[in-house]
Symmetry: C2
Subunit: 216 residues, 2 copies
């Protein structure tokens, strides 16, 4: 005789979409408590399921986190792609990609933490689902994406400098700003620039520096 449903009430024995729900819960908890503070028991409870149910869909905790990281890389790549196809001058579009990166790191800290957590020196964990050579294939795709974006945006090239070189610098600057900000370590104050402004100016300097490099 239940005609109504509570907001997150399951109707019945089977959840229906448990795998996706667990991924979302994991992402939320990682965002709130950090990767180390995230717990399978919490995720299961939030979803309304026994902790053991998780093992129908994942090999274990590590596999769930890896899946979160993978989704994160996919979403990040999508966002960067959207920025790349936007309007404006080449430099504007490229700068917008940087802003999309920062926005992703800010809005999806769970994904971001799962993606870029420094892993202890074992190298076994990711070898299973990767093609066997790179630790984070999706990450490399996102990076390749950035490189191609640079080449497409500046088809005249960088006067002998490999586009990947500039791509790494831009990525490192973005990552540095994003992580310092997430850790609350970006100096803040009334006269301090906003992080988006920071990245915009930095990317400008990096790209122009490269464009100018062989003129000097």
């Amino acid at each position: 005789m239940r005609h109504w449903r509570a907001p997150f009430d399951r109707q019945g024995y089977h959840h229906g979409n448990l795998k996706e729900a667990l991924i979302e819960a994991a992402q939320r908890f990682i965002a709130e408590r950090g990767l180390g503070g995230f717990t399978l028991a919490d995720a299961a409870k939030l979803v309304g399921v026994t902790p053991a149910a998780l093992y129908r869909h994942f090999r274990g905790r590590e596999a769930l986190v890896a899946e979160v990281a993978f989704r994160g890389f996919t979403q990040l790549t999508e966002r960067l792609g959207r920025a790349l196809k936007s309007d404006g001058t080449p430099l504007e579009r490229f700068t917008r990609m940087g802003e999309a990166y920062l926005a992703f790191a800010e809005q999806e800290p769970g994904f971001y933490a799962a993606m870029f957590s420094a892993k202890p020196a074992d190298g076994e964990a990711c070898a299973a689902d990767s093609k066997g050579e790179k630790p984070f294939p999706a990450g490399d795709n996102a990076f390749d994406f950035l490189v191609h974006a640079l080449s497409d945006t500046f088809p005249e090239g960088f006067k002998g400098v490999d586009a990947r070189f500039i791509a790494i610098e831009v990525w490192a600057l973005s990552h540095g700003i994003a992580t310092l900000d997430a850790a609350g370590q970006l100096p803040k104050g009334p006269s301090m620039p906003d992080k988006y402004e920071l990245l915009r100016a930095g990317v400008l300097a990096l790209v122009h520096g490269a464009l100018r490099r062989s003129q000097t």
Copy 2:
């Protein structure tokens, strides 16, 4: 009748230098296993002491980690200072500071992880030992140090741009390169630049970009 001593053998009931030994052990384990994988029991065992002995010197785990972070900031500041007082042109010395930063992050991953671990949103933990306003006073000192180095190195200024602006950019780039490298996410390969080269070129572009900014 023990005339010899085993390498790390304590002679007697009292350790003599337990606090320092614990800090060093913590730093080592954080480097090996990450901040989350570090355990008081491990540190105590390595030092050859009961876990409970730790509480004579620290309020708890968190306080030990905070002390490691503090020492890290102190050592980093010392290294930066040494680079700043070295020979060469202003730009060379400033670039050397960046290299010192990268070297510190590489050689002291335990310190680095303790210093820059993103903390969950509570804000209470560090308020006790700080003067009450900034989460990481030592970190701010290191940052102020960088700002002053920039001002001293380029006394002509940056044409209206605040030196702190460039300082943040340089710091973020260094931090980004250091953390990507530590996570094994820096694209590597035969044609790929070494991270020191990466930082050198990046800092050059950032500083020159700033010097040139109002000419454009």
